[in-house]
């Protein structure tokens, strides 16, 4: 297991990044009322986490350009929908 973790430290780093962002999210939302700028930050951080999961865990970075563009388009579209929803 240790050997595997060493050989694929990139995955562990990705996991630490998304877990770290989630911890930031927890701190940002500790207050009972979440002001609009914090909401935007929360949604953008979620989009960043999705990008990391797609690239590192799903190995989308190794897929043909078409799939990468389609996934990026989905992420941009959903982020736009949510940002407009909470504006």
């Amino acid at each position: 297991m240790r050997q595997l973790l060493r050989a694929h430290c990139r995955l562990t780093i990705a996991w630490l990044i998304v877990a770290g962002i989630t911890a930031v999210l927890a701190v940002l939302t500790a207050a009972t009322s979440v002001p609009p700028p914090v909401t935007y930050a929360i949604l953008l951080l979620a989009a960043a986490k999705v990008a990391v999961v797609m690239s590192e865990f799903m190995e989308l970075r190794m897929e043909p350009k078409g799939w990468r563009i389609a996934a990026a388009a989905w992420l941009v579209a959903v982020s736009a929908i949510l940002l407009v929803t909470f504006t």
Partner: protein, 205 residues
């Protein structure tokens, strides 16, 4: 070292290194089509949520305040960790550590079961007033989105456990590797959907 060739596959010979050569693609076109169709379906749900919220934002904010964000956050950590296990399982299988790969898939499935248990506990806390839930459009969207996601989790757990068993019983081949990669990709999609659903329903105002 190269991934198994078709000849090696026929002979049942395993000849892989710890890393895939550059140019290797995880999963199949089929799984990516499925993933994008599923993600598009959820994008439509997010749009529907936005439209419904636009009709009465105060009601949506008030109702969202009553959700148990702490439980949702725990589930976010659980699924992220589960996704990490699944990604490591694929790498372990590629490196010919079959037993370790199977254990990691089981660990990912275990996290999925923890997610399901926490979610059921949360549902029980939320459905204390059936009438209030039934008349509230926020809860309609909440149960549709989290319910469909919950279904995806259950399917994912079954797939992960089935694939872990298959790893232990079947010979190691290129097509088997594709199946395990596709299962992991599906599980990562379940994870990323919760990454978006959680802040949308629980946190954003």
């Amino acid at each position: 070292m190269p991934i198994p060739t078709d000849k090696a596959e026929v002979a049942g010979v395993v000849a892989v290194g710890a890393r895939q050569p550059s140019g290797h693609r995880a999963g199949t076109d089929g799984i990516w089509v499925f993933i994008l169709v599923d993600l598009t379906f959820f994008a439509v749900l997010f749009l529907a949520f936005g439209i419904e919220r636009g009709k009465d934002p105060d009601l949506f904010n008030r109702t969202s305040d009553g959700l148990h964000a702490g439980l949702g956050l725990i589930n976010l950590f659980v699924l992220l960790t589960s996704s990490w296990f699944a990604a490591l399982a694929v790498q372990a299988y590629r490196a010919n550590h079959i037993a370790l790969a199977a254990r990691l898939f089981c660990a990912a499935a275990g996290c999925g079961l923890v997610f399901a248990a926490v979610k059921v506990a949360e549902y029980r806390l939320e459905i204390f007033d059936v009438a209030a839930v039934a008349d509230n459009p926020f809860f309609t969207m909440y149960f549709v989105m989290t319910g469909l996601h919950f279904l995806h989790v259950l399917i994912g757990v079954a797939l992960l456990l089935g694939m872990a068993r298959s790893m232990m019983l079947r010979r190691r081949t290129r097509s088997a590797l594709r199946r395990y990669e596709s299962t992991a990709i599906y599980w990562h999609m379940v994870d990323l959907l919760w990454i978006v659903i959680f802040p949308t329903l629980y946190l954003a105002r």
